[in-house]
Amino acid sequence: MTNLLNINYYAVAPELVLIGFAFLVLILDLLLKGRDKAVLGYVTAFGLLVSIPVSYFTNEPVSFSGMVAADSFSAFFNIVFCVAAFLTTLISMDYMKKAKADRGEYYYITLFAVIGMMLMASANDFVNLYAGLELMALSFYVLVAFKINDNKSVEGALKYFVLGALSSGILLYGISFLYGYAGSTNFAEIARAASAGSSQNMFLILGVCLTVAGFAFKVALFPFHLWSPDAYEGAPTPVTALLSVGSKAAAFAVFLRFFAGSLAVLQPHWAMLIWVFSAATMLYGSVVGVSQKNIVRMLAYSSIAHAGIILIGLLVTNDKGSSGVLYYLLVYAFMNIGAFSVITLFVRNNGKGANICDYKGLASKRPWLAFFMALFMVSLAGIPPTGGFTAKFFILASAVNSRYYLLAGIAVVSTVISLFFYAKVIFYMYMKEADDASVFTASPGAALYNVVIVISAVATVLIGIFPSVFMDMAVQAVKPLLM
């Protein structure tokens, strides 16, 4: 019976480690009643660090009767999730204290969100996938609403919750049609049915359309993006960083495993759908981003534009495109979290620093901080020698290779437009003088922010200068997908 069930604890070792740490933090939270909760943050961060090597050495492609595929693909994503959550946990300890939301729940709910993402990345069956998705989504609903005394936080969380529940419903509806088509929810079974049966089956088309809609919500693609600027703005800033990196990467992992992996034979049929999504998302994100005054909202639209560009890599269903997606997500994790850490350092002082014009004259008062912020902006815009440039380069090269010329052109146009709002931040920091310099005085407890900012900056530049090392990792990771 055990053989039949194929229970394999090694396959879910990273998840088990994190579940263990989540319960440890939960119990410690009870023991530390009324005292400083920062120690929980360190335990959480340590747990995430421990999980990185465990993820790296996990390689069990088939377990739990084909439910879980813990291969090198999911290992890559697990490491991205752990690194992202590690960095955001470090910046949230001080932030939460300043926001008067310093509660132990925050840390283990973050861990549960990461567990949900890991389950999504290693899911090889829609049932498993949906359970992971709900675990991640429920954790994020709570985390976004964590500043419950702040109306914006509650508003963002409510929008995220209502639209998220609706999108889950749409996703389930799509899954039920795919089940009707293939007689199974397993990705491998659906792939078998798709390559054997006719591609014009209406149930397959309807199922694919509805599941794409469900995941497009999580990635915040163009017509399904409405929640993201509000949720990003309202959420505690470290949560925004994790939400924009982790939840997006998890949804892309599913996209890749299902579309580039299982439905690769039907690529000509779903390509049009993804093409339109990609083009619309890139243009919308960059054009609307230009008019934003709030820096978090600006980054929300920038994140929408980035999702559009990453989608090109999904469309190109070969090793170049898929590994480009992984590389892009890795770089995006570092540069985005870096930018959000700089913002977190400011926003915590009662709303000051929420607008782009608040960064006026930062360069003359805090030259290093302004330098790092400029570096992240340059990387997000995609200018060499940063990782953002190489990531865009790989994706666009794969698009040109597979003859998506028009889409590559749109991506370049979108990049040029988005350059405007990234440059605006740099312009305000370097070219203008501050009205009130006292805003920029260093406050105590900034050491951890500096650590996170420096780690992110070094990683962003290193990945840009030595792309081949990381590209090889990405190519290795997508191998099990494209067999």
């Binding site: 359970a131 992971g132 675990l135 954790s139 709570v142 419950i148 005394n149 089940y179 009707g180 149930f203």
Partner: protein, 173 residues
């Protein structure tokens, strides 16, 4: 033939009462319409040879969830709402879009076909539906079943965490 007649009866009542749920003025009425909808869905489950799902539907949704919901409605004293208040200019776009979506969906459902009948379960196996569900749940779907326990835990913790924070706010006022 007889089955089809019953199916249409149940589904038409389900759809009508579902529309009533969102258009009823008082929350209590909505809740009762929702109970009718859920009962019809349970009846459809029986038509689909799944008495276990039907029983679960009645016990959990009608029995537990709706009773809790009615309690919440009574405690919170939600007044009568006017439907007109929720009609924004967005509905000019939304209503046609939804109608187009439903027409396309209906067309595709009618044109499409099941590849596999009964998803691999013969009629005899379906007669013992609770046994089949139990074996699947603790066999093939064991892992997601365990994950759901985490989902429930996080829902519990999340609700308590948010509500307790809300109470702190009241104290300050």
């Amino acid at each position: 033939m007889m089955e089809q007649v019953f199916f249409y009866i149940f589904s038409i009542i389900a759809v009508i009462s579902a529309i009533s749920v969102i258009s009823a003025r008082s929350a209590v009425r909505s809740a009762f319409y929702l109970i009718i909808t859920l009962m019809q869905v349970a009846a459809i489950f029986i038509l689909l040879r799944s008495p276990f799902l039907a029983a679960v539907q009645v016990f959990i949704y009608v029995g537990a969830v709706m009773v809790l919901f009615l309690f919440a409605v009574m405690v919170l004293d939600i007044g009568r709402e006017k439907l007109v208040a929720y009609m924004h200019h967005q509905s000019v776009i939304a209503v046609p879009a939804v109608i187009v979506f439903f027409i396309m969906g209906a067309y595709m459902i009618i044109r499409g076909g099941w590849n596999v009948s009964n998803a691999g379960f013969p009629e005899a196996a379906l007669a013992k539906s609770s046994e089949v569900i139990g074996k699947e749940m603790f066999g093939r779907y064991l892992f997601p079943f365990e994950v759901v326990s985490l989902v429930l835990l996080i829902a519990l913790i999340g609700a308590v965490a948010l509500v307790l924070r809300g109470r702190e706010k009241d104290k300050q006022c």
